[in-house]
Symmetry: C2
Subunit: 115 residues, 2 copies
DNA sequence: GGGGTATCTTCCCTACAGGTTATTTAACCT
DNA sequence: AGGTTAAATAACCTGTAGGGAAGATACCCC
């Protein structure tokens, strides 16, 4: 996944309204109106959020009469999972980090002595 | 993790410069100047990026003489991993999704017939 | 104390995100 | 055809993100 795509996905996820919409879509397809229902927000605002999600590839839109149902597309989330996975050791190997911390602490104390 | 915190973390990750900084910090502590080196960008701009990362809890800053070394803090990344994990089934259980798709397709064909 | 180095602060600019209202398009149903 | 419903578009406003330049601050070393 290109950096640009990852930008778009992370940016899309940085809004609680949009994350809530994804959560709703995890339960199945929904129309714009249905997605808008929980929010104190105009429909055009909702449409904009959906465009952001769509540009990030997180949803696709259908066409059924006057409805444009939204469907969750989880592929970009897999990319996010892959990206974050490369950092797993940094939250699991706390001991290495502890060593770093102690070394740092020592250096700072040395610094404090000089102050 | 609160929604606000998740907002801040995702927003921080939505910038390629900041993701590159985290990647650099995965190799160990670095000063502001070291972090700035790969980018065609003024130091104040780098400082701002670091503040964004710090507010998101993704880095902490030390104090050593005239240096303010940055260190990766992966805890928020674990939260991101947890969040995204709740969607795992949606990129793994492709068959369920396929069923949805076929149902959708059928509905659209019905629609096409009427047009 | 003075020069050099690292970093932060302040002020400014531009672009874009997220929201609004009003209008338009498109499809349905009588 | 006319009315209703779903959704998109257009035009606008406000706040904030990301960048630059210039100056301030803090620390080291001689």
């Amino acid at each position: 996944m290109s950096s640009d795509q990852l930008d778009a996905v992370f940016a899309a996820l940085a809004d609680p309204t949009r994350r809530a919409m994804l959560a709703r879509l995890a339960a199945g397809e929904a129309s714009v109106k249905e997605l808008a229902e929980p929010f104190a927000m105009s429909l055009p605002a909702v449409t904009k959020h959906l465009h952001v999600l769509q540009r990030a590839g997180l949803i696709t839109r259908g066409k059924r009469a006057q409805w444009r149902p939204c469907r969750l597309e989880a592929e970009p989330l897999r990319e996010v999972a892959d990206w974050v996975e490369t950092y797993r050791q940094f939250w699991e190997h706390r001991l290495d980090r502890l060593e770093d911390y102690l070394r740092e602490l020592q250096a700072e104390e040395k610094q404090d002595d000089r102050e």
